[in-house]
Amino acid sequence: MTASTLQAILPAIILVISAMAVVAVDLITHRRARDVVLAGVAVVGLLLAAVAAFTLVGTTPQSVLDMLVVDGFSTFLMVTVLIGMVLVVIYSIDYIKLVGEHRSEYYAFLLAVALAITIAVSANDLLMVYLAMEFVSITSYVLVGFLRGDKRSNEAAIKYFLYGAVASAVMLYGISMLFGVTGTTNLNAVAQALAGETLAGGMRWLAFSSVVLLIVGFGFKTSLVPFHQWAPDTYEGAPTPITGFLSTASKAAGFALMVRVFIVALPSFAVDWLTVLAGVSMITMTLGNLVALRQTNIKRLLAYSSIAQAGYILMGLVCIPQAQFGLRPLQDFAFNGINGILIYLFAYVFTNLGAFAVVIAIENQTGKVDVKDYAGLIYRSPWLASLLLIFLLSLTGIPPTLGFWGKYFVFGAAVQVQFFALLIVALINSAIAAGYYLNIVRYMFLMPAEDEERIKIAPSLGIVLGVTFVAVLGLGILPGQLIQWASESAQFLVQF
């Protein structure tokens, strides 16, 4: 193990240390100051890890013990997710339902799940893929069920756990099939072993079934239809900061795993996963959007919206393979699908966390999470209403917000490979999505307030809202650097 290897896993090491530090600090601090101090330790740990990850940007990709690969793709997502986790920690500080709960475990688990995601985004071995996914899942189950006295939180955790257990078992079966055929679990080695095979005749069954089995696992993590049924109940019951986490960072981890496994290990099965995922993408965005139209609870609405968004993100993956497997080398493509996925995920993390910060601010004060409780929000808090408007516009994909650029790049990838069916479905879905996002806007701005009481914004939420606002609008107006970073990061995946 060399110094550069150590540097590559430094973010993970920092996260392990800070998770232990949180538990230790819990024992020595005074009760009253405890909540803020613990959050402070977690934030510092996450920020240090993010800085460590950022120093890796632009370095040559390197392999850690043949298990992990730290490359541009993983560092981009590491930085994004770790900053996202910082925001999750900060807006948990004042979350009303967590007051009085034991915070040290909460923050320690958040750090642990951040650790799990940093591993997941760099996992380059099927075994590591599986372990990372389980690590993310198990820590998430605990966080979802963290409100022990709250039945909905318990229900959410159980549901999430049952679905997750089945999904990961099915995925493990798929992994075992691949191992059985190739005799290796390293993604690059799997690719080499399969490249020599002529998949005619007897081996043909393997491609399709292993791809489908893997998609079950990834689909669960990224809430793709038809593996999404856990999402609405879990999103609704979980503590709201955790809902924010599930819909952003957790989803990013799932996409990272899926993209890397399919592109690095299974290019020879491209026809199979391409076909399946194209269908899944269309069904996911359509079903997510249509069901979202009927939602009255804002957390459930955002859950279905996040299902639909997963469908858009998947467009990036669906539209890359033709580039890699025949037509031209990937480097020629400004819109290569993978940079679309990265930009979309980046935009989605900040937009959705901002939206959830608004939801938390309102829940803290009123205890209500129904869309109708947002009636006349403009009178009660012009700031919250205006910010949520910007986040919703970003989710709709209206420029000059960050969400627009995410859509721009995944749609661009689809235009480039001339996948017209997918584009038409996406076009129709954009209109449907505008329907329910604007429904919230309608309540906030066009309806009279039932309760005139002003809504106060806690300082911690103020920080999160400020950061997400600057990211969504600032990077929306000047997206150049982000686009460049994402495009460079996407290149590594194919070189390796």
Binding site: I398, V415, S430
Partner: protein
């Protein structure tokens, strides 16, 4: 330091934005300050656009016109996308129209908007910025961003300040979703163009003629753009959002919708579609011509059937924007026959008709919506059956309405005439049969203007029992008799009436602007 000529377009676009942002820091209660600030600041872009008109006319038109005041700054180098602005004979008059109607709209609204004043003026200024931006953007991405920026303020203007009985929330969402579908289609088309040409610069793209010789793909991209523009224009059969949105919007919102927002679509067709996809456009030109003619005739007949004055004028926009589509479709139909003698002249005529119609319709229908607002503020109804005999009661209003309504009808001597004249003069040469059918629309227009508006509102006997309470706009009191226009209402209408008359008698300077733009486009084909 950039010269004034390089900065002027940026100033025109961003001064409204700056004004809007500063407005956010004003106290909500100080409505007087908010109104004064908005109106005062909006005069700056107005003055600047007047300078543009004069300067362009004096310095550039004698020298062949072309794209002037250009500025090109790096914006998203990774995408090869630039902050590229410029204005030519087509955009300069439209900038002036935008600035004029915005200032008048703000001024009129400062007397009539009573609730949520700060938001109204903020959104209005934001909207002005988006519209100005569309008319000067020369980069596809920038164009798209400005195109979308106007969407949100308009949604709120309709939704918040619309009359409750007109279902403003429904109208607002309908407007938004219709436009959004078109926008996304345009985004996909822009991306397709980019993959072909590797640039987002409109002029470079037009010079490269993407998809030339590949008609199926060119048609697809062409319709991507056209969907966005035809929804915005709106052309039959995408017009159904318009009557709802225009009827529900507050007066100044309707003025901007009819006066400027509809022109964005037609502007896009002339600026982007015609120069970039001449082959596909010429191939599909008959579809555009036919849809335009259907719009003209169908819109006019629907007007006759209306009982709501504002809805009637909304539908008259469908009919009048049909002339624009007819003119542009006819010009495109001429592309394949440019060797025929006189064909390029006829094409230029048709385009001139369309562009003149854009400008004049902005003045005329903008004025009509103001006048509907004036009547509605007094009577609190727009039902044509409730009026009658008002000519004797409110003579000044009657006089102004006569001028504007007759201009809308196309009476020679007023601005509207020239647009129709040029359109039909050009179109008869190229698509004679359809132009002839379109003439039915002119007759029907005379029908609804004379029969529905002039007769049922102003002529006949005044019946004092129909409407009990007339609000007097001078002092806000309810009275039994209608009161004539107040000072601010007259002041709002004066610039429009003057322009309608001047451009009716002496349209040459304006035609020179548009003609030069049209000839530049045709010469490049």
């Amino acid at each position: 330091m950039a010269s004034f000529n390089e900065m002027i377009l940026s100033l025109v676009v961003f001064i409204p934005l700056l004004a809007a942002v500063v407005l956010l820091f004003f106290p909500r209660e100080n409505e007087r300050l908010i109104k004064l600030w908005s109106i005062a600041i909006s005069i700056i872009p107005l003055v600047l656009t007047i300078y543009l008109m004069v300067n362009y006319y004096a310095s550039h038109i004698p020298n062949g016109g072309g794209m002037q005041y250009e500025v090109k700054l790096s914006w998203i180098p990774q995408l090869n996308s630039y902050f590229h602005l410029g204005a030519d004979g087509l955009s300069v008059p439209l900038l002036f129209l935008t600035a004029l109607l915005s200032t008048l709209g703000l001024y009129y609204s400062s007397f009539t908007i009573k609730k949520r004043v700060k938001e109204f003026f903020f959104l209005f200024l934001l909207l002005e910025m988006g519209m100005m931006g569309v008319f000067v953007a020369l980069d596809f991405v920038l164009f798209y961003v400005f195109w979308e920026i106007g969407l949100v303020p308009m949604y709120f203007l309709i939704g918040i300040w619309g009359q409750p009985k007109d279902r403003p929330r429904y109208a607002a969402i309908k407007f938004f979703i219709y436009t959004l579908v078109g926008s996304v289609a345009m985004m996909l088309a822009i991306l397709a163009v980019y993959f072909q040409t590797k640039t987002f610069d409109m002029q470079e793209v037009a010079a490269l003629q993407p998809f030339a010789g590949n008609l199926p793909v060119a048609s697809l991209v062409f319709w991507g753009f056209m969907l966005a523009f035809m929804i915005k224009v709106p052309s039959f059969p995408f017009h159904t959002w318009l009557p709802d949105a225009h009827t529900a919007a507050p007066t100044a919102g309707s003025v901007i919708l009819a006066g400027v927002l509809l022109k964005l679509g037609a502007y896009g067709i002339i600026r982007i579609v015609l120069p970039t996809f001449p082959e596909a456009f010429s191939q599909w030109s008959m579809a555009i011509v036919i849809l335009g003619v259907i719009g003209i005739v169908y819109g006019a007949f629907v007007c006759i059937a209306q009982s709501d004055l504002k809805r009637l004028i909304a539908y008259s926009s469908v009919s009048h924007m049909g002339y624009v589509m007819l003119g542009l479709g006819a010009a495109a139909a001429g592309i394949g026959r440019m060797t025929e003698p006189g064909m390029t002249d006829s094409m230029a005529m048709a385009i001139n008709g369309a562009t003149l119609q854009m400008f004049n319709h902005g003045l005329i229908t903008g004025g009509l919506f103001f006048l509907v607002g004036v009547l509605y503020e007094r009577a609190h109804t727009r039902d044509l059956g409730m009026f009658g005999g008002l000519s004797a009661k409110i003579p000044a209003y009657y006089g102004i309405m006569m001028v504007v309504a007759f201009a809308s009808l196309g009476l020679p001597g007023l601005a509207g005439f020239w647009a129709e004249f040029f359109t039909f003069r050009g179109a008869f040469d190229i698509v004679a049969v359809w132009a002839a059918i379109g003439v039915i629309g002119i007759v029907a227009t005379a029908g609804y203007i004379l029969y529905r508006i002039i007769q049922s509102v102003f002529l006949g006997e005044y019946d004092p029992h129909k409407i009990d309470h007339w609000t007097d706009m001078k002092d806000g009191q309810d009275k039994h008799d209608p009161s004539d226009m107040a000072g601010f209402e007259k002041l709002t209408m004066v610039p429009l009436v003057i322009l309608i008359i001047i451009l009716g008698v002496f349209p040459t300077p304006l035609v020179e602007f548009f003609n030069q733009a049209a000839e530049t486009i045709i010469n490049a084909l």
